[in-house]
């Protein structure tokens, strides 16, 4: 190719270097990531129902997980959407104080969710090594715990960035995308709870 030929040009130098929302590449990657993890949840839940068809007693000991902890944690998950949404709203403004405030709220909720999750696990009324039912319940809960911890660590790291002057430009986008991921964690928590607590009672 002739590097010196005269050509008309499409000048892109005026374009921004930051994009929020759907045109952002990282936002897209996050969607793909949630598709992967969502498929994992779907397959584990499908396995749960498949195994259900292979036994008559479900749960085998006829003792479903204790409902109260699941409901409490579910409600806390729902409330935690507030700081997540707030973080997403303040991210484009670049206001570090507000971002810190939102992320601290989100991290606090994540800690609360993890503590409540501990009580949930203690009251599942089964063990993973006892039966296929127990294995299915614990694997769904375990996968969700993995996401909860991952999201918590991510939030804390972004919070740490927000205490430096590096919290600007593309890093503001990370704050917004972090909230998207939290929505996914909440949604998958509700679906998992519905299966773990509901299906054991009504199937």
């Amino acid at each position: 190719m002739d590097a010196l030929r005269e050509r008309p040009v499409l000048d892109v130098s005026g374009l921004p270097t930051v994009a929020f929302g759907r045109s952002n590449t990282t936002w897209l990657a996050n969607v793909f990531y949630m598709m992967i993890e969502g498929t994992m949840f779907a397959l584990l839940i499908a396995s749960y129902f498949y195994l259900r068809t292979r036994t008559s007693n479900w749960p085998p000991a006829n003792l479903p997980p204790t409902l109260s902890w699941g409901v409490i944690n579910g409600i806390v998950f729902l409330v935690s959407l507030v700081p997540a949404r707030y973080a997403q709203k303040v991210a484009p403004t670049g206001d570090r104080a507000k971002i810190r405030f939102a992320l601290m709220g989100l991290a606090a909720f994540a800690v609360l969710n993890m503590v409540l999750r501990g009580f949930e696990l203690a009251n599942l009324n089964c063990r993973w090594y006892e039966s296929a039912y127990g294995s299915a319940v614990w694997s769904i809960m375990g996968l969700h715990c993995g996401h909860l911890i991952t999201e918590f660590v991510e939030t804390v790291v972004i919070l740490a960035v927000a205490f430096t002057d590096k919290m600007e430009g593309t890093r503001l986008v990370d704050v917004a995308i972090n909230s998207d991921y939290w929505y996914f964690v909440v949604a998958s928590a509700l679906v998992s709870d519905f299966v773990v607590y509901g299906a054991a009672r009504f199937l």
């Binding site: 050509r7 040009v9 921004p16 793909f32 992967i36 397959l43 292979r54 299915a136 430009g169």
Partner: protein, 643 residues
């Protein structure tokens, strides 16, 4: 974006600045820091080719053992390890890493007309994690704990009761490694295709090969989780006593098969669609016309991607399922023939109305037509439930899927290699040697695998390490083994040709085949910034359809690595994005992840303790260094962007 009309004369100093901004690190550690897609793509290709050779050696050993009845070359233990590692290597360590990751990572950014892949560090990480997975499986074989329950590792045979020791754990973790790798690359490739296409390359103008890469990336995203779930279940059954597959306490052995084949059949298309995409790319180039039936072909690719998820049960017809589900999956399996047949007819039409130049890559394309057609037709037989009851798990099936996989992946791979090696190395391959390679391989392949159809019809089951003379399978097996020699000779000719090419091949120039896609718009091999002038696109074959005065893109920064992000559908420029530069942290993270995964084979706490270094390396990887491009932009232009 309005077109402005300044007259551009790129300065040599611009290219120097670009070269500095995109410079790839050198030296020992530099090798581990490089994140450019051309380097990582070539590594995927070379590594998976080495695994192809290793898997081929295992295949030759198996054929040697089976050459005669009651042959004593390999005992049952070694034979079972060898066929397990052969299958696992070819599927997980060769076919997908070569056809999807290798060709995809190398070609997609070039085909899109961009300077690097999206998420280059994730992409580099995916390479290292793949290598560790491959080493894990092979080190297992070398220290006599080679997996031995088949590449599918059905429970309960692979479970804690019937395979004590660590053999199946090595297999299951190898799966996790390779699938993490495939998923990382899938995200990178899909994001590149959707966001980094050259302006003007609307969806309707995307080359078929990009449609295929996008389809396969999305298939990977939905299929690979299934095998990760099932191999994790197997691992947990083996290490922490979960009971997923233990019928005594409510577990179920068919659950494994459903999950495995929910991955396993899409996997076949993940391997085969890249092959057809290479064919759809090469046929127009060597027929000297645009491809006939662009839209039907694209629809076929996408339809195959969808239908591929609806046929998994045809691997389980012999398990005694209800007839209604058998009929449904027969119909689905036959339906998936339609898109493939459509592509075949479009290729014929393209050649029919073109001007065929039967150069070396096109010879391999014709090899593909012949071989894959046979595999596809025997696949129609397998889709028919009653016939499948007979030929399932016999050598007929072995013949069938080697026709499909070698036909659908290896023949297109060689076509693609002969086509793109001039781009990768800058030198032409020797066509004479290439033809010798083709004929040796083609004859040997048919000798080995066509014969196996007859062995299957005569009732020889798969995965037997020996058989008695009364079976009368000896002569056919001897013939099949003879073919291996021809194939091996062909591969040696290829290697000689390849190393000769690197040393003394004729210089290729930017576009030796006068191809129409964007990878031919830059030098061979491409400079580290891929394109000195970023192209815009005016048609499906960017170079053939370019206006005489096709505009180029200007305005990306030359002092830092920057890429242009465009709209997913109409590819209008949207914003400029800094492309992450070289970093050692993807490599170190892959080491930390490997330690956690391998540790978890030996102790369930491995994953917990192992997570700590993973988190540390990930933070180091992602922690922002210096100011973001927006801030630097702000300083450069001295105009407010953020408060």
């Amino acid at each position: 974006m309005a077109l402005s009309e300044p007259i551009v004369i790129p300065q040599a100093s611009d290219l120097e600045r670009l070269a500095r901004a995109w410079a790839q690190p050198r030296g020992f550690w530099g090798w581990f820091m490089n994140v450019h897609h051309t380097a990582i793509g070539v590594r995927f290709m070379v590594t998976s080719f080495i695994f192809l050779l290793l898997g081929g050696i295992l295949a030759a050993l198996m054929r040697w053992q089976l050459a005669r009845p009651e042959h004593g070359v390999l005992g049952p233990d070694l034979y079972n390890q060898i066929f397990t590692i052969h299958g696992s290597t070819m599927i997980f360590l060769f076919a997908v890493p070569m056809m999807f990751q290798g060709f995809g990572v190398y070609l997609v950014p070039l085909l899109c007309g961009t300077r690097n892949i999206a998420f280059p560090r994730l992409n580099a990480f995916s390479y290292y994690i793949y290598v560790v997975g491959g080493l894990l499986l092979w080190v297992g074989l070398l220290v006599k704990t080679g997996a031995d329950a088949g590449w599918f590792s059905y429970v309960p045979l692979s479970g804690p009761e019937f395979t004590p020791g660590k053999r199946s754990d090595f297999w299951a973790q190898m799966i996790t490694f390779t699938e993490v790798s495939a998923l990382g690359v899938a995200i990178s490739i899909a994001a590149t295709i959707l966001r980094h296409r050259a302006p003007g390359m609307t969806l309707n103008r995307m080359p078929v090969i990009l449609w295929e890469k996008l389809t396969v990336a999305i298939m990977v995203i939905f299929a690979m989780p299934a095998v990760m779930v099932v191999s994790s279940m197997l691992l947990m059954d083996r290490t922490i006593n979960t009971q997923f597959f233990n019928p005594a306490v409510g577990g179920d052995v068919l659950l494994y098969q459903h999950l495995f084949w929910f991955f396993g059949h899409p996997e076949v298309y993940i391997i085969f669609l890249p092959g057809t995409a290479i064919i759809s790319t090469l046929v127009p180039v060597f027929s000297r016309r645009h491809i006939y039936g662009y839209i039907p072909i694209v629809c076929s690719v996408v339809a195959t991607g969808f239908l591929g998820f609806g046929v998994w049960v045809h691997h389980m017809f012999a398990t005694g399922l209800p007839q209604i589900s058998e009929s449904f999956f027969t119909a689905a399996s036959l339906m998936i023939v339609i898109p493939t047949a459509t592509q075949f007819f479009c290729w014929i039409a393209t050649i029919w109305h073109g001007r065929l130049q039967l150069r070396l890559p096109m010879l391999w394309v014709f090899g593909f037509f012949f071989v894959f057609l046979i595999g596809g037709l025997s696949g129609v037989m397998l889709a028919s439930v009653p016939v499948d009851w007979q030929v399932h798990d016999s050598f007929f099936v072995v013949a069938h899927f080697h026709y499909v996989l070698i036909g659908g992946a290896l023949f297109p791979m060689f076509a693609g290699l002969y086509h793109w090696i001039p781009k990768i190395t800058g030198r032409m391959m020797n066509e004479g040697l290439g033809k010798v390679h083709f004929w040796l391989f083609f004859i040997g392949f048919n000798m080995t695998f066509f014969t196996m159809h007859f062995l299957g019809l005569r009732g020889m089951p798969r995965r037997v390490y020996t058989y008695t003379p009364e079976m009368h399978w000896g002569a056919l097996n001897t013939l099949a083994t003879t073919g291996v020699g021809f194939m091996a000779a062909g591969i040696i000719v290829f290697l000689v040709n390849f190393f000769d090419n690197k040393a003394s091949g004729r210089l290729a120039g930017p576009n030796p085949w006068s191809g129409g896609s964007l990878e031919w718009a830059t030098a061979s091999p491409p400079p580290p910034y891929n394109f000195a002038e970023l192209p815009t696109v005016n048609g499906r074959e960017a170079l053939w359809d370019a206006e005489p005065n096709q505009p180029i893109v200007r305005g990306l920064r030359e002092d830092i690595p920057e890429v242009l992000v465009t709209h997913s559908l109409d590819s209008d420029p949207e914003y400029r994005e800094e492309s992450p530069g070289p970093s050692i942290w993807p490599f170190l993270t892959s080491i930390a992840v490997s330690i956690a995964f391998i540790w978890s084979i030996f102790s369930p706490w491995g994953i917990a303790y192992g997570a700590i270094p993973v988190v540390i390396t990930l933070i180091a990887w992602l922690w922002p260094r210096g100011h973001s491009p927006a801030r630097r932009e702000l300083e450069r232009r001295e105009e407010p962007w953020t408060r």
